[in-house]
């Protein structure tokens, strides 16, 4: 494994292109949270031709639903949720310019094909590291669907969020190559 690469959000394409599945990345910048319910709403709005609350061009979406912040804390525990539940909505968001997604667990073939077509990457955060991820979040602001509580869309300022490229923009998939590499089953 090479050294840790730096990635800025919103995405600058020159930084994205050299990223390969298996690369460790520190992400710094502005990203948006969205999980099941927010995806469902955005998907419906796009399908109905309505304006969506966030311009997705070059943006990064983090699949998470944080726990509530204590007084004096920026945010509560804020680790990734299972990405595959968002798979059905993702290709349409990629068409709208979404460039990177942060979550955990494998993605569908349709999502990977769409990522290759639109030049996007999928970054894995370590599931269950909600406290570690929260320590990288410096500012939080709700931007849409506040009625959804933890499922609302939040704008996050993050610094050096430790992530790993799980699927790169050429479709190389660490969820397939990684386990194959270490399997000892004959």
């Amino acid at each position: 494994m090479s050294g840790i690469k730096i990635l800025h959000a919103p995405i600058i394409n020159q930084e994205l292109n050299p990223l390969k599945a298996g690369d460790a990345v520190y992400l710094t910048g502005t990203i948006f949270t969205a999980r099941d319910a927010a995806h469902k709403r955005i998907f419906k709005m796009i399908k109905e031709g309505k304006p969506i609350p966030v311009d997705l061009k070059n943006q990064v979406i983090y699949y998470t639903g944080p726990s509530p912040a204590k007084p004096g804390q920026v945010i509560g525990s804020c680790g990734p949720t299972t990405s595959s539940r968002m798979d059905v909505y993702t290709p349409l968001l990629l068409e709208r310019g979404l460039k990177a997604m942060i979550g955990k667990g494998p993605r569908s073939r349709e999502v990977i094909e769409s990522m290759v077509k639109h030049g996007a990457v999928y970054l894995a955060a370590v599931g269950g590291t909600g406290a570690l991820m929260a320590s990288c979040i410096k500012h939080v602001e709700a931007v849409a669907f506040e009625d959804l509580g933890p499922e609302a869309i939040y704008r996050l300022q993050v610094e050096n969020m430790p992530l790993m490229v799980a699927i790169d923009s050429e479709g190389n998939n660490l969820y397939e190559t990684g386990p194959r590499c270490y399997s000892q089953i004959e």
Binding site: P66, G79, G127
Partner: protein, 279 residues
């Protein structure tokens, strides 16, 4: 007859829920430290180190280990010589869950199953009650996240499928789950009984100190064998490849019917949260 007031039960449940979500047991920490030493994949080692960092940050800065603070599963083992005063014990448990999740700033994830309407306070808890000898009550709070709960399975095997069928089903369940339940996992297995008994003992097996074995030597051997075969799959931490897919396999058994062989596999993520207290 010894009396225990429901207020004490509610207070204890609240405290245990918070403690479980913020402070991971040293059993898991030791197994993770051990796994870092043995892991051959550099990616996997990095992930395991992040899990250890997360445990330290959670307890140092007062954050839940994981934002999915789970559905509260509460085990009540009630001494048969205890008299419970102060009202309904189940209401007391739910009052404790409600308070724990509010005061601990934990996420409220419980909702009605079909309408999907959040109950707002993470109740009701799933409460399991057993009567035990003596005049004390043992309370265990085990908040369960659904990344791993969703990957759990149960099958009514044919007796002819026997031990090999059981092994295949356990392995198949872990392989199908892949990276979804946040490996490295703890695998709880219940063999025998009826459908619900198998599921219950598979969950209860997860409460054991991680890495300790069933007192029956043949089952202990099966636990070790399954742990080794699971770690040969290559799934690895988070499903990204490596030799640390499970930290432990806990198997419990119960006699069953001549016509059946139920097997339940309850998958638990590395954030194996459970805390207990005796009243």
């Amino acid at each position: 007859m010894r009396e225990i007031h429901t207020d004490r039960i509610a207070d204890t449940v609240a405290r245990l829920c918070i403690d479980a979500c913020y402070n991971l047991g040293d059993d898991i920490k030791m197994l993770l430290e051990d796994a870092v030493e043995k892991e051959v994949s550099p990616h996997a080692r990095k992930i395991l180190e992040q899990l250890l960092d997360n445990i330290t940050i959670a307890s140092t800065f007062g954050l839940p280990l994981c934002q999915d603070t789970g559905m509260a599963v509460v085990f009540l083992e009630i001494g048969q010589d205890v008299h419970i005063t102060g009202g309904d014990i189940y209401q007391a448990v739910n009052k404790g869950v409600q308070r724990g999740y509010r005061e601990g700033y934990m996420r409220k994830s419980v909702l009605t199953p079909l309408e999907r309407i959040n109950t707002g306070d993470n109740t009701p808890a799933v409460i399991h009650t057993e009567i035990i000898p003596g005049d004390r009550i043992k309370i265990t709070a085990a908040p369960k996240g659904f990344g791993s709960e969703n990957m759990s399975r149960l099958k009514m095997l044919k007796p002819a499928e026997g031990l090999e069928g059981v092994k295949d089903f356990i392995l198949e369940t872990v392989i199908k789950a892949g990276g979804n339940p946040c490996p490295p996992v703890i695998v709880g297995v219940g063999i025998g009984g009826t459908m619900e008994k198998a599921a219950y003992i598979s969950k209860k097996a997860l409460l054991r100190r991680a890495g300790t074995h069933n007192p029956d030597p043949s089952i202990a051997e099966l636990e070790q064998e399954m742990l080794e075969s699971i770690n040969k799959t290559g799934i690895g931490p988070m499903g990204l490849g490596g030799r640390t897919t499970a930290l432990a396999v806990h198997i419990d058994t119960y006699p069953t019917h001549i016509a059946g062989l139920p097997v339940a596999v309850n998958i638990q993520c590395h954030a194996a949260r459970h805390k207990e207290a005796w009243l």
